[in-house]
């Protein structure tokens, strides 16, 4: 069996964070021992609250930042050091798409020139053909030639995000890391971009790491889902299993809090308490101050992320106890 497209193994990333204006700098573990796998042609969705470490994980996966511990493997090989030639070659195989398409584009250049840029940088195709290649890419994401001749501010948000996707595809990458790619878009436009990403994946067999705080969007695109809380994965598994029958109380709360129009089919759990402060990680299970299922044990003992009988991974004492009880009972 060939190695997975992308693998992070126990990656950890710490930042110094200053408390107050003059306060001492405290260390924040933005990402704390995260192991993830993205397979070819598949999407891993990454959800979690603001500050839980999703974007940092995305940057680590692309080698844009070096982990303080752990390693990242691309097709089974270690990520070369940043700015080495090997890294730049590898980088062409993986691309990132951010939330803000306007920020990702150069406002002084026509769209087609920006889509052409990667062909020039990586010396792909004959110089004479490159513009035609760029227009072909634009067409493949549903942008017309006249739109390609426009400047970024002359396009709508959804059109700009299409342009960014076209540019990311120029180097024929194997992996796309999408960090909140549709969060700034209106629903009707969001659906256009989601369909586009799904189509491209099917056509090109791309692996996708798809970061979003919107569970509905995550479910739409993901084969597997990983849920982060304070820098750690708390649950990971097959998308439909995880979202229809969450094992971890935080996943359960997230699913029940997702605003959906019309009748709800499951009771709503409204979490009490505040979002966690990464600089003061609670003892034991970091979720315990907000968890409705918390026991004494949860305050002192940090649960490990380990497999449940149904194959998913979960980091929760109670979820594992329940699963073991059910297994013993049957």
């Amino acid at each position: 069996m060939s190695a997975p497209l992308l693998q992070t193994r126990n990656v950890t990333r710490c930042y110094g964070m200053r408390k107050g204006l003059l306060g001492r700098s405290v260390e924040v573990r933005a990402v704390d021992g995260v192991s993830l796998t993205v397979e070819r042609g598949r999407t891993l969705g990454l959800v979690g609250e603001s500050g839980s470490g999703k974007s940092t994980t995305g940057r680590l996966a692309l080698g844009l930042e070096k982990p303080d511990a752990g390693d990242v493997l691309f097709k089974g090989a270690a990520m070369p050091g940043t700015d080495s030639l090997a890294w730049r070659q590898m980088r062409a195989r993986m691309q990132m798409i951010y939330q803000d398409p306007l920020g990702a584009l150069d406002r002084r250049l026509q769209i087609v020139e920006q889509v052409r840029e990667p062909f020039d940088v990586h010396g792909l195709g004959q110089p004479k053909e490159r513009e035609a290649l760029a227009f072909a890419l634009l067409q493949s994401v549903g942008l017309r030639a006249d739109q390609g001749r426009r400047y970024p501010h002359e396009l709508s948000g959804g059109q700009r995000q299409r342009a960014v996707i076209a540019r990311a595809l120029a180097t024929k990458p194997d992996l796309l890391v999408c960090d909140e790619p549709v969060s700034a878009l209106d629903v009707s436009i969001q659906a256009q971009v989601i369909n586009l990403l799904v189509d491209i994946q099917q056509e090109l067999g791309l692996g996708l790491l798809f970061i979003s705080h919107d569970l509905k969007v995550i479910r739409q695109v993901s084969h597997r889902v990983a849920v982060m809380y304070l820098g750690r994965i708390v649950e990971e598994g097959e998308a439909d299993l995880l979202l229809s029958n969450p094992a971890h109380p935080y996943t359960e709360a997230l699913v029940s809090a997702a605003p959906v129009p019309g009748r709800r089919t499951r009771p709503r759990i409204v979490l009490q308490g505040d979002p966690p402060n990464p600089a003061a990680r609670p003892s034991g299970c970091a979720f315990h101050p907000r968890c409705h299922a918390a026991r004494e044990r949860c305050k002192v003992e940090s649960p490990l992320l380990k497999p449940m009988p149904d194959g998913r991974l979960a980091a929760c004492h109670v979820a594992h106890d329940q699963a073991n009880f059910l297994k013993a009972a049957s």
């Binding site: 209106d186 969007v217 129009p261």
Partner: protein
């Protein structure tokens, strides 16, 4: 509580009644005659894509638009007309009978003032309280909006609280004048899903307890659906559909509302390819001649370009601005989204 609209789209004995409200900036019309009434204690949702005029509607109603905006129409609060009202009339209404939580983050809390002082100022302005009574009332409001350890938090600065807690403080300030109507413009958009659920639950609880009316502005159909009795869907500066929340989501009449719902990925049931609305929202200075939705509408016919369809009665409590939306009959049978 649910309020039934009469055949003219107004509620019986409205708290606030907006009639024919239009707004133009530099000669470009962005609101084309909004009619909207809100009953006592009712929760009305205003939903629509970015730029459709949700915020401008209420900024205009409360006299908060910049001078360059030209506003016409009527906004009545009881017997008081608010359009072109004297500044002192507007000052007593704003933060008094009608309070607004703004979308604009710059209008949020003052970073260098203690929270208790900010709430206290709102209380002094509208409650006529002073001294110790203010502090006691501020504490009561903090308790009401669920800020733990209220007494100590009154002495805190905004940066010492989380985003969700600061949003609670904003709500506390809005409640200081015991408003009859709270207009909340995207009050949870910047918050995480679990915190958003807390704030929406809080707004609903306060509304139940005080019989305050709520206008909730959001681009998120889910948020609106879970919080509001009645929903107005806006498109390109007009209300294009209004109905009681449940029936709007069960049987949307207007093709735009149907499109919005179909474009939303479901959280349960079979996954299907999303059904986006093709094209983009038209620019305010470049509107099509007839129905503004026509260029994107799967049902468009020649008659649609003849004129702007009025928001017309279709069934009890149901209004839609579409010539093809027949009475209480969905234009296009809705796909079994959650099959």
């Amino acid at each position: 509580m649910s309020t039934v609209l009469d055949r003219f789209g107004t509620v019986a004995d409205p708290l606030v009644e907006i009639n024919g409200l239009t707004v133009a900036f530099d000669g470009v019309k962005v609101l084309h005659g909004i009619d909207l009434s809100v009953a006592r204690g009712e929760a009305v949702g205003l939903v629509g894509e970015s730029g459709c005029g949700k915020s401008v509607t209420w900024l205009a109603a409360l006299g908060l638009l910049p001078k360059k905006a030209s506003v016409s129409g009527n906004v009545r609060l009881g017997s008081t007309e608010l359009i072109d009202a004297e500044p002192d009339v507007l000052d007593t209404v704003r933060g008094g009978r009608i309070a607004m939580i703004f979308q604009d983050p710059a209008s949020a809390l003052n970073p260098v003032l203690r929270l208790g002082k900010q709430v206290g100022e709102a209380l002094a302005l509208h409650g006529g309280l002073s001294g110790a009574a203010i502090r006691a009332e501020a504490r009561r409001l903090f308790d009401l909006v669920g800020i733990p350890d209220a007494a100590r938090r009154l002495d805190a600065f905004p940066h010492e609280l989380s985003g969700g807690q600061n949003q609670r403080v904003m709500i506390a300030m809005a409640l200081a004048g015991k408003p009859d109507l709270l207009v909340a413009d995207e009050p949870t958009t910047a918050l995480d899903a679990t915190i958003q659920a807390q704030i929406l639950e809080l707004l609903t609880k306060i509304r139940r307890e005080t019989d305050m009316a709520l206008v909730l502005i959001s681009h998120d159909l889910g948020v609106i659906s879970q919080t509001c009795d009645r929903v107005c869907v806006m498109y390109a500066g007009r209300i294009i559909e209004t109905a009681e929340a449940q029936s709007l989501f069960d049987t949307p009449l207007h093709p735009y509302t149907q499109g919005l719902i179909a474009a939303l990925p479901p959280l349960e049931g079979v996954r299907r390819r999303l059904d986006p609305i093709e094209g983009n929202v038209p620019e305010p200075w470049n509107l099509p001649p007839g129905c503004a939705f026509a260029p994107r509408c799967p049902r468009r016919g020649e008659a649609c370009d003849a004129g702007v369809p009025p928001l017309a009665w279709k069934a009890p409590g149901r209004f839609a601005a579409c010539i093809k939306a027949l009475q209480a009959e969905p234009v296009r049978p809705r796909e079994p989204v959650y099959a």
